[in-house]
Symmetry: C2
Subunit: 287 residues, 2 copies
Amino acid sequence: MRSMRDYGCFVFCLLAALLAGFLSFLFVLVWVLHWREGLGWDGASAEFNWHPLLIVTGFVVLQGSAIVVYRLPWTWRCSKFLMKCIHAGLHLTVLILAIVSLVAVFDFHNTQNIPNMYSMHSWTGLTAVVLYGVQVLIGLLVYLFPFAPVTLRATLLPFHVFSGLLIFGAGIATALMGITEKLIFALSRSYNQSYSQSPPEALFVNFLGAFILIFGAFVFWMVTQPQWKRPQEQVPKTLPPNGGRASGAEERGEMSADPENSEIEYNREAARKRYVILDEAGQRSTM
Amino acid sequence: MRSMRDYGCFVFCLLAALLAGFLSFLFVLVWVLHWREGLGWDGASAEFNWHPLLIVTGFVVLQGSAIVVYRLPWTWRCSKFLMKCIHAGLHLTVLILAIVSLVAVFDFHNTQNIPNMYSMHSWTGLTAVVLYGVQVLIGLLVYLFPFAPVTLRATLLPFHVFSGLLIFGAGIATALMGITEKLIFALSRSYNQSYSQSPPEALFVNFLGAFILIFGAFVFWMVTQPQWKRPQEQVPKTLPPNGGRASGAEERGEMSADPENSEIEYNREAARKRYVILDEAGQRSTM
């Protein structure tokens, strides 16, 4: 952080994102519980309702949180490995929620004899979840497990960051399409009214869409500001010889999870805590 | 460009974006001419059809092109002022097309007694166009006209770049919502069939949505790669004293449009052409 003012700006953006994210979760929950048929696993609408709830909570709010987690200044003294575990854990949770939400909607369609995969929403949504699964798998193999060579980690990193943000953005666009579809279908069926008459439910859910967009905007702002990157870590050259790896992968923010190197890891950890510097120049490995 | 390989990657991305953009234009044109009621200005559906045609052509494809125009390597020998004029001209064209497309849809709604501004699509769409108008106005005042001080230009630049990309992304999400709405309404009215039966028109228009997303993805990739930025310009210190401004605004890619400084401009122009260097480090002013 360059200054207290800059720190204040970050905290403001984070609080705004958390508020918009919480309101998104609250509004989708109230929508399915109060305006729609609630939640259940009966092949009917209550089962479908898990789909918007889990997608907004997981694929939008939790995924956005997983993306910004490296940027929280109070985590910069935590080890990079710990932060990677949190990042990966959140993304894995999102993936599981997304899969459950897809099972809910396919099961609902099959029970109700509604065709699957006919809409643009379904095309982009399934593509986004499949790509997200690939992204999480590659992320685990390349960045969390200790097998991948440093050059591969460095080469793939711009793609990892970009595809993560692209899937997040496409997820938001897909969620907004899905909400639009659901409002049109549900309002015309439930009360013999239409979306165009602006019943209270329609207005309420339009605000849900607005909160999702505001949440996405703040997440994108936070992760694209170079001064808010997790600082580059520098490990001193007095480490054991094989600790020299640190000047490659780890200096760019990578970290081995090899349990056999626990003592080296401990030394690195101690060194890291002494040598965290706020060098903001250059390109670092992870957001 | 770091290498021929990197140059090849850029050209590939550009051609892919151009192809996806052209297919988006072609598909929306065929949609309104072949599958829908064509184009007209009669208060009926043919007037509405200007709305998707102009939004996809302008707010998506042309806006994306305006965003990447600084990144074309073969324009790096052109003056920054010329490139700014092209950037501004394209964005002004997009704004005019967007306003005409809004007039078409409001006029259609009013003639057909359909309420305005009830849907999430209309909320996010009108917000995006209003913010886009503000963005274009501020862009002209701050970056094209010679009034704004260098510090203001530098301070506003991250916001200018970010809000431009945010509006572009929100425009794509809004377009996909609008296409979803139109497909549901139009298919149920025209042929007594439904979107869920996947008639040929629905499949065709789903591909339109896919091309729009692919176009957006390539544009975002091109404008976020630091090695593809327009190179920083360095003007030698032998310029007239007031040419010293060049080391401030212009070294960061800004340029005065003051016609009274034409001789200085000429000298700068000559110097610029001699001193274009491919320094890829650091943050520069404009994408």
